[in-house]
Structure formats: structure tokens, C-alpha cells
Symmetry: C2
Subunit: 119 residues, 2 copies
DNA sequence: TCTACACTTCAACGATCATTGAAATGTAGG
DNA sequence: CCTACATTTCAATGATCGTTGAAGTGTAGA
């Protein structure tokens, strides 16, 4: 992920409704949610949601796929992963003062990590 | 870090000049840089830089301290750390698909992490 | 105290963003 | 083909953001 893409991703997450959309989609898991359900979950109009979803897609944070007459959105886990990597490595230069506490706070659910990697 | 603060931090990093400022400050290390040097490093006018620095401070990403007639800015490592934690845990729910690759990409410089933690 | 310096605050502007209702697109079923 | 439905695109609006020059604040030294 280059700086340009990271900028787009940060800007995308720096908006209340969009951050909620991402969180809702992560919570929903790999299957994601149809746009209608998302609109209700986030509490935003259909037109407005569509605008934000396009922004999130441009930023590489969500994926979509038509399914019957609705369109199902899901979080782009690899995009989120790359963003975290950018923040830790390219931006913070892997400084232990920054990265170690963040990783430690995660240890209960996400131990050492070995073959799970598939960047 | 609550959602409100995370939003401010993401929005702050979603701007080219501000992202560059943060990267320059991280690179500069714990001593940081005086505003003048930052302005030159980032290639932005003094007035404009001051605006962005205030935004970054509000977002909890930089700290400042007067030093003679200049003001020295430095990255707020704990703020950056909390943002990464938020992104991994609160936003992505610690999903291994997301977190493991990001952590793995860091392993050369930032191994397992134990007593280093000081959230 | 006077001047120079480093930076910030203020006021103004154009540009981009978020939101809305109305119209268009695409899909499914009768 | 026609209607109903889910979502997007379009056009328009007010709000916020990024940038600039001019003026202000605070610090250091002669």
C-alpha cells in the first residue's frame, strides 16, 4: 500500500458514518450485509449510504457483489490489513514504543501469528 | 481511545500534509523538530503548517513544547499506539485475517512484545 | 527598550465534502 | 410487458476544509 492509498483509507475512516459502516461490516463477518440492512444499521439514507460506500470502495476498504436485486457489501479484510501494516511500518517505522503496546493489547485474541499471514 | 477520538485521528491522517508531518516527526524520533524545520521538511507555509499542527494536536497525534523562540513538535507515540489498537481491536475486532498479516509484516523489527507494553 | 525572529491567530477565499429529493438503472416475478 | 423493489446516479445545497497574506504574540539579544 502506497501513501496515496493510505491517505484515501484514512480520509475514508475519518467520517462518522463511514467508520460505522466498516465496523458494521466487520461485525457482520465475511458474508457482509446488503445495502438496505446497512442503511438501517448505520441510520443513514439510501442515497447517502451509496455515496459513502463508493468512497469506501475507492479507498479499498469494502467490496461488493450483486445478489438478486440487492447488493451485498463486505469488509475488505486485506485492505484493512494493509492499512494497519502501513500505519505500523511505513508511518511509525515499526517503533516498539508504538507497535508493541498495540500488539500486546491484542494478544488474547490474536497470538504470535505465523502461517495465518497472507498479505 | 473512544470512537470520537479515533475519528479525529483518522481524519487528521487523511490529509497529505498532515500525514507527512507525522511521518517526519516519527522519523525525527523522540526529540521531534521545531516548527520551522518541519515547514521546510514538509514543504508548506508557516501559517498553513500551524493550522495542521493544531489539528494533529487536537487528534492526539503530536505534542509540542516551547524551546527558546521556537516551538518543538514531536510525535505522540502513545496516541499513535492507541490508534493502531483501536483499528485492530475495536474496529476490526481482532480478526486474525486482518491483524495477523499486519503483525507478521512487522516481525523483523518488532518481535513478540512482552514487557514493552505500557498502554 | 528597541529590533529581529519564530510562530500563531485572524479574516477571507475557493475547493471539497456530506446530505437531500428526484430521476434513472437493474432485477425479479406475475 | 408491467409493476414492485433495491440501489445508484444526478443536481443542488449548505457546511467544512485547506490555503493565503496581514496582523498579533511571545522570546531573545543589543
Amino acid at each position: 500500500m502506497d501513501e496515496r492509498q493510505a491517505l484515501a483509507a484514512f480520509a475514508a475512516l475519518g467520517q462518522e458514518h463511514r467508520l460505522r459502516v466498516v465496523r458494521a461490516l466487520v461485525t457482520a463477518g465475511p458474508d457482509g450485509l446488503p445495502a438496505g440492512a446497512l442503511a438501517e444499521a448505520v441510520g443513514v439514507g439510501a442515497t447517502n449510504l451509496s455515496f459513502h460506500l463508493k468512497e469506501l470502495a475507492r479507498a479499498g476498504l469494502v467490496l461488493s457483489r450483486r445478489e438478486g436485486r440487492s447488493i451485498r457489501y463486505r469488509a475488505d479484510f486485506s485492505g484493512l490489513s494493509e492499512l494497519i501494516r502501513f500505519l505500523m511500518r511505513d508511518c511509525c517505522q515499526g517503533r516498539p514504543e508504538v507497535c508493541a503496546p498495540a500488539i500486546a493489547a491484542l494478544s488474547p485474541c490474536c497470538p504470535p501469528a505465523e502461517d495465518t499471514a497472507r498479505a
